[in-house]
């Protein structure tokens, strides 16, 4: 990593709205992006993620400081020249109708084609390669309005890819997608980084998925400072917890999940012969304000998860009585009625 030269560097960057200090959101930013980086930009809503991406892509001017790509200030590049270095996928909802997927992806060739916009054989190959990487070659002839949200997002990523740039920025590419859609986009970004050796910087709120699939994050903390690192380090250092701190929630370091802070806890004891059963029963109990103890106390209810060939049953011992229940739902109902 250190042997390589960064493709993008920012020095003492301050960003925000307008041109004065008044609109400043983030300041004192210093960062490098290397070819082959896959970076996820995280932070609470309104922390300046989108503004940072917009500033890097020249849609907004920095308040001060500078960004350099290949050792040259980004504002020194001509429009076409810059479009050959950096492409973006924005959150703008584009109402695209009556355009085929191929035509939309072909728009990515804009900075490379002649004044007529004629696609050469090379252009067509690059477009098809982009579709190929995202696995949507068979959609090439489809109209945009026929696609699902996930497919549309892939088309826009393919369009950026067709722009053939060493840097790719994506603003919340996983928003609006269902879980498989989110996973798919993240997987494809990883694939693009590996196969194309481009640098990818994207913002996301899908912390759980990012933790699973991304090795390097930029975290905009509650103190408006940018922290850079491996996500696991940021969890252990408490930075992640600080960033998303909320009075009503506590951060669970084991699962990296925020959980509702409970005021009053009822104790129960949970045991059984089925691992999964215990985990999910515990999960449901926690939501309902129960504290799970390892050891059985006299006055607290005892739950035994009994798994057999007939399925799973829950045996509840409460106030001396014993009941066999067929679902977690029944269990919760019985626990709550005194």
């Amino acid at each position: 990593m250190n042997m390589m030269r960064p493709i993008l560097t920012a020095k003492e960057l301050a960003i925000g709205y307008g041109k004065t200090e008044k609109g400043c959101i983030l300041r004192g930013l210093n960062f490098d992006i290397y070819p082959g980086d896959m970076i996820c930009l995280m932070g609470h809503n309104g922390c300046g993620k989108t503004t940072l991406l917009r500033t890097i892509s020249r849609l907004t001017s920095p308040i001060h400081g500078q960004i350099k790509i290949r050792d040259r200030n980004i504002f020194e590049y001509g429009s076409n020249e810059f479009a050959g270095l950096l492409s973006v996928v924005l959150t703008d909802k584009i109402d695209m109708i009556n355009m085929s997927v191929f035509e939309v992806v072909a728009l990515g060739r804009y900075p490379h084609t002649n004044m007529w916009g004629k696609l050469t054989r090379t252009d067509k190959k690059i477009i098809m390669d982009s579709l190929e990487i995202l696995g949507i070659v068979d959609l090439a002839g489809n109209q945009m309005e026929e696609l699902s949200d996930g497919q549309r997002q892939k088309v826009f990523v393919a369009r950026s890819l067709a722009q053939d740039t060493p840097i790719l920025l994506l603003d919340e590419p996983t928003t609006y997608l269902d879980l498989p859609g989110k996973l798919e986009i993240l997987r494809l970004l990883g694939k693009i980084v590996r196969e194309k050796k481009v640098a990818v910087l994207f913002s996301s709120h899908d912390w759980q998925l990012v933790l699973e699939m991304v090795g390097w994050i930029w975290l905009v903390g509650g103190d408006n400072k940018l922290r850079v690192g491996v996500p696991e380090d940021l969890i252990l250092s408490g930075d992640f917890e600080n960033c998303f701190r909320h009075d009503k929630f506590i951060f669970n370091r084991q699962t990296a999940l925020f959980q509702e802070r409970k005021e009053q806890m009822n104790h129960v004891c949970l045991c059984g012969n089925d691992e999964d059963g215990i985990i999910w029963t515990g999960h449901a109990l926690k939501k309902e304000n129960f504290m799970i103890d390892e050891m059985h106390k006299n006055d607290s209810p005892l739950i035994y998860v009994n798994s057999s060939k007939q399925g799973c049953v829950w045996i509840l011992k409460k106030n001396g009585a014993e009941k066999t229940l067929n679902s977690i739902e029944d269990l919760l109902v019985n626990l709550k009625t005194r």
Binding site: S57, R58, L59, S79, N80, E81, F82, A83, G84, L86, S87, V88, L90, D92, I94, M96, I97, N98, M99, E103, V104, L107, G108, Y110, P111, T113, M115, W116, G117, Q143, Q163
Partner: protein, 339 residues
């Protein structure tokens, strides 16, 4: 691809057909088989036919086609640029701007007591129409940077239209009767006023505009993605913006100068074509708009002369054909949005 070929074949065929119909039909019917003799100035045809052909029929046909093509193309460019399906030279107040320019020119020369040579008068007419329409478009452009909502922009266009109307009313009230008449006739819209040298100037200016518009196809396509994507894909938006504005002002301004404010062709043609061709690709839309716009204007000209001695003003025809089409479009759109 075959679909596009079929549509373009139909369009070209319609243009030729309407062209011939407009040359043949009128108070005096000139049969097609005499065209050859008229073109090559043979003496076998009556002199009056030649005069009617060269002084009335041919100029009005060419004018109608050129005007329709120019308005449709400028409407298309505005719709794509403003990202608004209801944008068009009429609704955005560009016509009003041109009207104001023309009113100013006609009345001001009258008030100043200037008597200008005809060619100079015509050049001034074009110049002022283009200036007027550019003025409105530049104002809209300026506002479009301050006002994010594109709907507000349309309302602004209407507001400008009313402002221009107010100034025109004042100009009318202080002008002499013959100037007012000239202006009111101009305001009705007609393809029959452009003759002789004017036709040459008109045709050349419109052709120039249409040829320039072909170079915008690539940029218009990118603009479908919105301005942010256009910028990050390498479009020099600031420079092209001025280009778009000047071109649409030149096209719709010139047509308005010569033919008067022609309604609806500009806004409707792109919609009809999109629905028909089922593509937003300007490589098809732009040439298609030229042909379809030309057809619409020629058809309107045909209808306006259809009832023999009574000539219905072009704008009346446009209103009667155009309004229901806009209505249908909005109706269908409403249904689509509700479903």
């Amino acid at each position: 691809m075959t679909r596009y070929k079929t549509i373009f074949t139909i369009l070209i065929f319609s243009v030729l057909l309407l062209f011939i119909i407009l040359l043949v039909v009128g108070p005096v019917t000139i049969p097609i088989d005499s065209f050859w003799d008229i073109l090559f100035d043979n003496n076998s045809v009556p002199k009056s036919w030649k005069a009617i052909f060269w002084e009335i029929r041919f100029p009005k046909t060419v004018t109608a086609f050129m005007a329709g093509a120019a308005l449709a193309v400028s409407g298309l460019i505005m719709q794509t640029y403003f990202g608004n399906p209801l944008a068009g030279p009429f609704i955005l107040g560009v016509h009003s701007g041109a009207s104001l320019g023309v009113a100013f020119w006609i009345m001001a020369t009258g008030v100043a007591g200037l008597i200008l040579p005809e060619i100079f008068h015509d050049m001034g007419l074009i110049l002022f129409a283009v200036l007027g329409s550019s003025l409105v478009l530049f104002l809209l452009l300026f506002l479009s940077r301050k006002i994010p909502g594109k709907l507000v922009l349309l309302v602004m266009g209407l507001v400008f239209g009313h402002m221009a109307g107010g100034i025109i009313n004042i100009l009318v009230s202080i002008s002499s009767a013959d100037k007012i008449r000239t202006f009111l006739l101009w305001n009705l819209g007609s393809f029959q006023r452009v003759t002789g040298n004017q036709l040459v100037i008109f045709t050349l200016v419109i052709l120039l505009g249409l040829i320039i518009s072909i170079f915008l196809i690539k940029h218009l396509n990118l603009l479908l993605l919105g301005e942010h994507y256009a910028r990050t894909s390498g479009m020099n938006v600031e420079r092209l913006k001025i280009f778009f504005i000047l071109l649409t002002a030149l096209l719709s301004g010139t047509v308005t100068a010569f033919c008067g404010p022609i309604a609806f062709v500009g806004i409707i043609t792109p919609h009809m074509l999109r629905r028909w061709i089922l593509s937003n690709n300007h490589s098809f839309l732009l040439p298609g708009c030229m042909l379809l716009g030309g057809c619409m204007a020629m058809f309107a000209e045909f209808v306006s002369n259809f009832f023999g001695t009574v000539t219905i003003p072009i704008n009346a025809v446009m209103g009667l054909i155009g309004a229901p089409v806009i209505f249908l479009f909005l109706w269908k759109r409403k249904i689509v949005e509700e479903s």
